[in-house]
Amino acid sequence: MTISRRKNPILRTRLPTLPPAARSRVALGLTAAAALGRFELQQCGDCGMVQYPPREACQSCLSVNLLWREQVHGGDLLAQTVLHHSNDLFFRERLPWRLGLIKLDCGPTVVAHLHQSVKHRVQVRAALDRAGQAVIAALPEKEKADMADDRQLREFTCDPKHRKVLVTDGKTPLGQALAKSFAKAGAEIIWVGHSEPWKKFAGFDELKNLPQVTLLPFDVTDSKNVREAAAEIAGKVDILVNNAEVHRSFGIANRQGVETARAEMDVNYFGLLRLAQEFGPAMRSRGADGKASAVAWVNLLSIYAHANFPPHGTFSASKAAAHSLAQCLRAEMRPAGVRVVNVFPGPIDDEWNQLLPPPKLAPETLARAVVGALRDGVEDVYPGDVAQEWLARWRDNPKALERELSA
């Protein structure tokens, strides 16, 4: 796949359109799982029948005890077609379009978007399309090196390959790991922000020596600075990763005054708001701009955004605020097909989590999880064992988790 380096500014930029987004409420079960990168279908809690499309009752025993359960990914391609005509604008602009009828190993027959190199056996996955709704994609059974370059697949994923990325904070180990991961993933340009450009920070030289990296003075607490940076690069950024955060532990009673909490809010919440206001509109306008369009906005949140962790109480509150705002941003970016990816890590192995016991997340692991989520088209990421455990507890019983965390 080749992508022209410069675009002709005289030519019209293609405006974003979305694939059909309407779904019944019951069908959103597929979306809920796809948002986490899982392939789940309805399974009857009484007779065990796996069914698709989603229904309100089991087609075998009529039970309404239907559970969304992870399924095996294998299937056989029964028949395929290539569409040369579509009734929908989004697909009309992207014809021809390949579809398959797949008999899943777990039972049902499904209509799926079909990867170009599929022959007979497939692995299916649920992917989020540009409308943010789950669709089933059928890929070759065995992973291939250039599999992600498939023209149709790139319409569902946010693969960093050939794309331009902004990482808002390069001063932290995580920011540097992100820059390296994006470079490795084939990103074309990586702008990396640093908030105090007159100071050299640990890892500065290594970062600067990456050929894809351009360092950029960037401070999410400075509205003027964010606006100026946006004026320069917002029209080029395909993937924005906001990893700038302030993390000071302690709850309420252990600290006097609101200054520290305000500093957390200023970066973790208002920082996101400033970025969204300055970079959001430009990215929205480029949601369908050629093969490497604006595709994703990644927020570094925290598993504490879902339930307050009292020892890190004010930090948790700022991340909860950021999470709520990110949901608003997601709704506002969706019409352009730009995906908002929220990352909910457990404790990162850094100085502010010193007192927490392991396992703690290595910055490199977290960076790889972010790139993986973009490649897989996932929108909610829970990297690491702690985040996964909290997610499971939270989904099972949010009130129980609140009690457990305050124990």
């Binding site: 077609t81 569409l83 009734n87 929908d88 579809l99």
Partner: protein, 380 residues
């Protein structure tokens, strides 16, 4: 039981009228042709995709009708067969004396797309987001699978399409007026591979209608009519087949022929539901004209025009007349009544005494759910 007064309201590609207009024209044409008064028709079935937000009952007030028996039959391509079955039972039971079965749809420039996007919950959740190809994509799968499984070639489907066009040239109300050659068929642009342009029906506006009544009543009115000899209906048959290669006919055809006291070999013509040619082959197989998988050999062997060895879709079918929504489910029935009452003009099948009409409707997800068939007999 008598089936009479075949009515076709001339089709147009696009109409600025609503479905009510088309159904009103059909009903009024039934009155005009039969000589009956409005209040003498005391039963009504209505089939339409574009009548929303109204249904049959709303139409009674719209048209000033007061039937004592009413049914809304939103079964698409199975509507004609099902309407006849229900009407015949109503008349048999004395719930109505004369039932008007009407079907019609309008077609605005954008109405087909809107119908597709919300055709069914399954279509909206699990088909339309996949390229929004509509029924073309669903039937492309069935056609591709049929071709690989049974060795059908494009020429086999082409033979049906070319023959039906020849029939349509003798049906003045068909929208397609130009002959179609096999070369043109094969050279057409792809729509949803392996389907090409002439494999796909053209959506249009139009309406069809007929009457169902007792034979003695039809005779006293001096009506030419066909006699109902047998009929079957089945929905969602063979649900666990991974891909549709058969439908309810395969389950119920013995019953159909037993009712009629005749077999497939006795049919003088067949009207299949022909939104795509592969579906015609499936019906011929399931209805016992040839064995499963032998559809391609069957069409290679026979002449399929009105004057051929196996007259099929003698008015041109939907492929050459046009698909006027639910009226497409009536097209074959109305043509069969014409054939059996000597009203088929320049495409009249000689000595046609028995004809079979098949219906197939509602691609809810990956397959057509409703199937039915009727055997009609010439009288007098």
């Amino acid at each position: 039981m008598a089936v009479a007064v075949p009515v076709t309201v001339p089709y147009v590609r696009y109409s600025i009228r609503s479905a009510h207009w088309w159904l009103a024209r059909a009903f009024s044409e039934l009155l005009k042709t039969s000589g009956l008064k409005k209040n003498e028709i005391d039963g009504l079935t209505v089939s339409s995709f574009t009548l929303a937000p109204d249904t049959a009952i709303g139409l009674t007030q719209h048209l000033g009708l007061s039937p004592r028996w009413l049914d809304h039959i939103p079964l698409g391509g199975a509507s004609g067969v099902v309407a006849l079955r229900r009407a015949a039972r109503a008349v048999q039971a004395g719930d109505a004396d004369v039932v008007a079965c009407i079907a019609g749809d309008t077609n605005h420039v954008d109405s087909f797309r809107l119908t597709l996007a919300n055709f069914s919950q399954f279509a909206r959740d699990a088909v339309y987001p996949y390229g929004a190809g509509g029924p073309n994509a669903s039937f492309a799968f069935l056609t591709a699978y049929y071709m690989q499984k049974h060795g059908a070639r494009r020429e086999d489907f082409g033979k049906l399409c070319v023959a039906q066009r020849a029939n349509a040239l003798r049906f003045p109300l068909a929208l397609f007026k130009k002959p179609l050659s096999m070369e043109e068929y094969l050279a057409a642009r792809p729509i949803a591979e392996p389907l090409h342009l002439f494999d796909c029906v053209m959506p249009c506006a139009g309406a069809e209608a007929f009457l169902v009544l007792r034979e003695d009543r039809a005779q006293s009115l001096g009506m030419a009519y066909a006699r109902l000899r047998g009929t079957i209906e089945r929905h969602n048959a063979f649900a666990s087949d991974p891909v549709q290669m058969r439908a309810g006919w395969a389950l119920d055809r013995e019953d159909l022929y037993r009712q009629a006291g005749a077999g497939p070999e006795d049919m003088d013509f067949v009207q299949t539901y022909d939104d795509y040619p592969v579906i015609s082959l499936m019906q011929l197989e399931d209805l016992g004209f040839c064995a499963k998988g032998e559809g391609p050999a069957f069409v290679r062997k026979h002449g399929l025009t009105w004057d051929g060895s196996f007259p099929l879709n003698t008015s041109g079918g939907q492929l050459s007349v046009g698909q006027a929504g639910a009226a497409g489910g009536f097209l074959g029935m109305v043509e069969a009544i014409r054939q059996l009452t000597g009203q088929a003009g320049g495409r009249q099948v000689k000595n046609a005494k028995l004809g079979l009409v098949s219906g197939f409707g509602m691609i809810n997800y990956d397959r057509g759910l409703g199937s039915g068939a009727v055997i009609l007999q010439k009288t007098g």
